[in-house]
C-alpha cells in the first residue's frame, strides 16, 4: 500500500553528510574510569539523589528518584563507587552547571538483577510509573519524559515513530534502525498498546534506504499495524510536528500537544529504550552517539550515560585542525565550550568542526527583504520581520509576529543571502521576554509579600487591642468582685466572654491554612500525570521542552 504523504511548507536541503559515519556498525564505547550522571533531565525537573558519597553502586541501580511531574529516575550506568555529588557543567545553551552524581567505575560492570516487566497484565498507570522509574525519556534530543507523553490519555489514533533523522551528519538512529529494527518495532508495539493507538506510522527519510529496508523486513513479523513510510528528505522533516504533518496531514499548532489531535510521536531510540526496559527490565543506561565531522574514524558508539565527551572523542580520533565540537547537528547543535560535559540521554551526536569543514559565516549584511527566509520557514513565519523587531527590541511586535512559534530550526539563517544569524536574534528576543516575565512574576510576588506583611501588622494590632480589652475587662471584673455595685458583675462577665471570643477568632485567623491534620499518604503514582496540562507546552515554554527536529 502506498501511503499518501502530505507536504509541510518551507524546509531546506543541506548536504546530508551521512555517509561518513553511517557505514560502520555501532560499537560499544569502552567503560570510562569515571561517570558523571546528571540529575537534571530537562529544564523543569531534577531527580532526587538517593545515594551518598562513598556508597558502592551496581550497574542499573537507581541512584536518583523522580520527584516531580516531569521527573524520571536516574541509574548507575556501571558498577563502582559514588565519589562525589557535585555541580558540574552540562551541555546546555545556558552554560549552567547542574547537580551530578560522580561514579568511579570498578571495572566489574556488575549489575543489579533485572527482570522483564509484564505490562500486558499490569494496569496502565503502573506501567507508566515503571517506565518513569526506568528513566525512559525522549532519545531524540529533547529528553522529554516518555511516561508523561504516554500518560496524555486515550483517544489516540496514530502512533508516529520518528526515524526521520533530518539533521545532517547524525546517523545514530540510522544505525539503530539498521541493526536493531526488531527491538525498535517491538518497543513501538508496546508504545502503541500503551496509548491505545490503532496504527503506527514510522517515518524515515528516504536517504536511508538500508534503514527503511531493515525496518520493513522486521515489521512483517512484529505488528501488522506498523507501516514503514519513506518520507522525502528535507530538513526539518524530523521535527515532531513536521513529521506528523507529513505522515497524517495534521498540523498541530504551537502550544498544543499531539494527543489533542489523536497522534503521539516517539523517536525510534525511545522505542528501543522502552523495549529494553519492558523486556529485560533494563533502565536507560546508555545511548548511541554519532562521532563524526573532522575525525579519522567516524562512527556510532554505544555510550554509557555520564561518559565525558573528552573521554569519548579519542575513539573517533579528531584531526589536528579541529577547533571546536558541536553537540547535536549542525543546524541546531550546541558548540561545546567545555569538553568535560557528560553525555546525557538526549545527546545524539558530536561533530568535530574545523574552519575548513564549517567555515565561519561571512560578514553580516543588511536584510534585503528577499523573503528567502520566509520560503524556508517550516513554521510559516516571516523571519525577517521577527529579525527586524527582535533587533529593534520591539518584543511586543515580535510576539505578534509569532516569535514563539519559531522552533529555532535555523532554516532561515541557512538560506539568508545576507548571512544574518537570524536564530541568534530570536533566542535573544525570547530570553529577554522570559526575563521580563520573570521580573513581572518576581514583582508580583514581592507585592504579595508586602501585602502579607500589612496583613500581619494589622493582625498583630488587633490582637494587642484584644489583649488590652481583655485586661481591662479582668480588672473591671476584679473590681466588681471586690464589692462594688453588684449590677456591674454582669457587664464584667460579658466583657470576659467577649475577650475570650475575640482571642479565639484571632487564633483562627492566624492559622488559616490548617484545616485538619490528615497527612497525605505517600502515593507511588503521585508524580504520575494522568493528563499533562497544556502548560507543559505553553506558549512561552523554554525551548528544551520542544521536541527538536534532528
Amino acid at each position: 500500500m502506498i501511503k499518501r504523504l502530505f507536504n509541510f511548507q518551507g524546509g531546506i536541503k543541506p548536504d546530508s553528510h551521512k555517509n561518513e559515519s553511517a557505514g560502520v556498525p555501532i560499537r560499544p564505547a569502552p567503560l570510562p574510569a569515571r561517570l558523571t550522571v546528571p540529575l537534571r533531565q530537562n529544564a523543569r525537573s531534577v531527580a532526587r539523589c538517593i545515594v551518598e558519597p562513598g556508597q558502592h553502586v551496581l550497574k542499573g541501580q537507581r541512584i536518583g528518584e523522580a520527584q516531580d511531574f516531569l521527573g524520571t529516575a536516574v541509574h548507575a550506568p556501571s558498577s563502582g563507587t559514588v565519589i562525589e555529588i557535585a555541580d558540574h557543567p552540562m551541555a546546555h545553551a545556558s552554560g549552567l552547571t547542574t547537580r551530578c552524581i560522580v561514579i568511579e567505575t570498578d571495572g566489574d560492570d556488575r549489575a543489579v538483577p533485572m527482570a522483564p516487566f509484564d505490562y500486558a497484565n499490569t494496569d496502565r498507570l503502573t506501567t507508566l510509573g515503571y517506565l518513569r522509574d526506568c528513566g525512559v525519556v525522549g532519545m531524540g534530543g529533547a529528553a522529554f519524559p516518555s511516561h508523561v507523553k504516554l500518560g496524555s490519555g486515550t483517544g489516540i489514533d496514530t502512533l508516529v515513530l520518528n526515524g526521520a533523522e533530518c539533521e545532517p551528519w547524525i546517523t545514530c538512529d540510522d544505525r539503530l534502525m539498521r541493526e536493531r529494527a526488531d527491538a525498535i518495532l517491538r518497543g513501538a508495539k508496546i508504545l502503541r498498546e500503551l496509548i491505545g493507538a490503532r496504527h503506527t506510522l514510522a517515518g524515515i527519510e528516504d536517504n536511508k534506504p538500508e534503514a527503511i529496508a531493515a525496518m520493513q523486513e522486521a515489521a512483517k513479523g512484529i505488528d501488522p499495524a506498523i507501516q514503514i513510510v519513506p518520507v522525502p528528505t528535507r530538513y526539518p522533516a524530523g521535527g515532531e510536528k513536521q513529521l506528523i504533518r507529513v505522515l497524517t496531514g495534521i498540523e498541530i499548532p504551537q502550544g498544543k500537544l499531539g494527543s489533542a489531535y489523536g497522534v503521539q510521536c516517539f523517536n525510534v531510540g525511545t522505542a528501543h529504550a522502552v523495549y529494553r526496559a519492558i523486556t529485560f527490565g533494563e533502565p536507560v543506561l546508555s545511548r548511541v552517539v554519532t562521532l563524526t565531522g573532522n575525525v579519522e574514524h567516524p562512527g556510532n558508539f554505544d555510550t554509557l550515560i555520564g561518559t565525558h565527551v573528552d573521554a569519548l572523542l579519542p575513539l573517533a580520533a579528531p584531526q589536528a585542525d579541529t577547533d571546536r565540537y558541536i553537540l547535536g547537528g549542525p543546524m541546531m547543535g550546541l558548540a561545546l565550550t567545555d569538553l568535560s560535559v557528560p553525555i546525557a540521554k538526549g545527546s545524539n551526536c558530536i561533530i568535530a568542526s574545523s574552519p575548513a569543514l564549517f567555515p565561519p559565516a561571512p560578514p553580516e549584511r543588511p536584510c534585503i527583504r528577499c523573503t528567502a527566509c520566509a520560503s524556508a520557514c517550516p513554521a510559516g513565519l516571516q523571519p525577517f520581520e521577527l529579525y527586524w523587531y527582535s533587533r529593534s527590541r520591539n518584543f511586543g511586535k515580535a510576539q505578534e509576529y509569532k516569535l514563539f512559534d519559531c522552533i529555532e530550526c535555523g532554516s532561515c539563517a541557512f538560506v539568508c543571502p545576507s548571512h544574518i544569524p537570524l536564530v541568534d536574534y530570536y533566542r535573544y528576543a525570547k530570553s529577554e521576554i522570559w526575563a521580563r516575565e520573570r521580573d513581572t512574576k518576581a514583582s508580583s510576588e514581592a507585592r504579595e509579600r508586602f501585602e502579607f506583611r500589612n496583613y500581619r501588622q494589622e493582625r498583630e494590632k488587633a490582637e494587642k487591642a484584644a489583649r488590652l480589652a481583655a485586661k481591662a475587662a479582668e480588672t473591671k471584673a476584679k473590681m466588681a468582685q471586690e464589692g462594688s455595685a453588684p449590677e456591674n458583675a454582669d457587664d464584667a462577665k460579658k466583657a470576659l466572654i467577649a475577650a475570650a471570643m475575640e482571642r479565639a477568632r484571632q487564633q483562627k485567623a492566624a492559622a488559616p491554612a490548617v484545616t485538619g491534620n490528615d497527612t497525605p499518604v505517600p502515593d507511588p503514582t503521585a508524580a504520575l500525570p494522568v493528563k499533562p496540562t497544556e502548560d507543559a507546552a505553553a506558549s512561552t515554554t523554554p525551548p528544551d521542552q520542544h521536541a527538536q527536529p534532528r
Binding site: 511548507q9 496531514g249 498540523e251 549542525p330 528577499c370 520581520e385 541557512f414 548571512h419
Partner: protein
C-alpha cells in the same frame, strides 16, 4: 560565541544580484540587436556612476566600502536606470539619474535594504518631470547607427525630430488624442511592430527569458510577475473588448514599453516590494492596474514608474494586512 546553524547555503547578496544582472543579458542582447549598441554605452556610464556614488557615500558614512560595492546592488540599480531610459539619453542625464537613485533614494534612507522607494523608478520619475523632452526621444528600431547614438549620448547636437521618434505607447496616445483614427489604423505606422513597438517585442521576449531564469533559480517568486501580467492582460482586454477603436489590445500593452522589464526586474525589487505571498499578488496587480490607468488616462505615456512608487507607499499596509497563517493555523488536513 558562534551559534547554530553552523552551515549555510552558498549564497550571498552578491550572488543574488549577479543572477539578476545575468538575467538581464538576454534582454540587453535583444536591445543591441534591435535598437543598437548605444545602450551599452549608457549601461557602462550607469555602472561606473553607481559604483562610484555607492563608494563615496559609504566612505562618508564610514561603512566598509569594498564589501558593499562588491555586493553589486548599486550596479543593478544603475542598469535598471539605463534600461528604463532612452538609449540615446545624454550621458549627464544618466549620471544625474543614477546619483539621485543611489544617493538620495537609497542612502538617505539608510542604505541597502532600508529605502522604501524603488531607486531606479524614483530617478525615472524625477527625470521625466525635469526633462520631459529628452526622456521621450527614442531611436526608431534599427534607425540610428552606433556612431550617431554615441554622438547623441556624448552630448552632440540634437536635431531632434529628424532622427528620433516616440515610443509606441507615446505614438499611440498622441495619435488617439489627435484623432488620427482608430487604434488599428495608428498601429499600421512604422513605429509599431506585430505586437507592440517595433523591435521592442524582441527585447520584451529577452526580459521574459531572463525572468524565467530568475524564477528557476528562485531569486524571485512567481507571485509578482504573474499577478502583474495577468492583471495587465485582463484590464486591457476588458477595455479593448469594450471599445477596440480607442483601446489597444492586451498583447500590445504587454509587449510595449517597460512591461516585461517591470514584471520581472523592477516590481520584483525585494527591498521596496511587498513580502508576503498574498501581498506580492496585490502589489503586482496594483502596479499593473495603475500603470494601465496612467497609460490610458494619465499625463504620461508610460505609467509603470509612477505606479511602482504609488504601490511602494502601500507596502507596509499590504504586508501588515496579508500576514500568512502560521503552521497549525490553517487548520485540518489540507494537503
Amino acid at each position: 560565541m558562534i551559534h547554530s546553524p553552523y552551515i549555510r547555503k552558498p549564497t550571498s547578496v552578491q550572488r543574488v544580484m549577479l543572477n539578476v544582472l545575468l538575467a538581464l543579458t538576454p534582454g540587453i542582447a535583444a536591445y543591441v540587436w534591435q535598437i543598437g549598441a548605444g545602450i551599452l554605452v549608457n549601461l557602462l556610464i550607469a555602472t561606473i556612476t553607481a559604483a562610484a556614488a555607492e563608494a563615496l557615500v559609504l566612505r562618508l558614512r564610514n561603512r566598509p566600502v569594498k564589501l558593499a560595492v562588491s555586493d553589486l546592488s548599486a550596479v543593478l540599480t544603475g542598469w535598471l536606470v539605463a534600461l528604463a531610459f532612452p538609449p540615446i539619453a545624454p550621458w549627464w542625464l544618466t549620471v544625474l539619474a543614477v546619483l539621485v537613485a543611489i544617493i538620495a533614494v537609497k542612502h538617505l534612507y539608510g542604505g541597502l535594504g532600508q529605502n522604501p522607494f524603488n531607486p531606479a523608478m524614483v530617478a525615472f520619475c524625477a527625470m521625466i518631470v525635469a526633462y520631459p523632452s529628452l526622456m521621450s526621444q527614442w531611436p526608431p528600431a534599427g534607425g540610428l547607427d552606433f556612431g550617431t547614438q554615441l554622438q547623441l549620448i556624448l552630448g552632440g547636437a540634437r536635431d531632434l525630430d529628424a532622427i528620433t521618434s516616440a515610443t509606441a505607447l507615446d505614438a499611440l496616445r498622441t495619435g488617439l488624442r489627435a484623432g488620427a483614427g482608430s487604434v488599428e489604423a495608428i498601429r499600421q505606422t512604422g513605429t509599431f511592430g506585430m505586437l507592440g513597438g517595433r523591435g521592442w517585442e524582441w527585447i520584451g521576449l529577452g526580459y521574459l527569458l531572463g525572468g524565467a531564469f530568475l524564477l528557476a533559480r528562485r531569486v524571485i517568486t512567481w507571485h509578482m510577475p504573474v499577478a502583474f501580467i495577468i492583471t495587465l492582460a485582463l484590464v486591457s482586454a476588458a477595455l479593448w473588448a469594450f471599445d477596440p477603436a480607442r483601446f489597444a489590445p492586451p498583447w500590445f500593452h504587454l509587449a510595449s514599453g517597460g512591461a516585461m522589464l517591470a514584471a520581472f526586474f523592477i516590481i520584483t525589487d525585494p527591498v521596496t516590494g511587498a513580502t508576503t505571498p498574498r501581498g506580492k499578488l496585490i502589489f503586482g496587480a496594483g502596479v499593473a492596474l495603475l500603470a494601465y490607468l496612467i497609460r490610458n488616462f494619465g499625463a504620461f505615456p508610460e505609467g509603470i514608474a509612477f505606479a511602482v512608487l504609488l504601490m511602494n507607499i502601500c507596502v507596509p499596509l499590504i504586508d501588515m494586512k496579508t500576514q500568512p497563517p502560521v503552521f497549525g493555523q490553517r487548520g485540518g488536513r489540507a494537503p
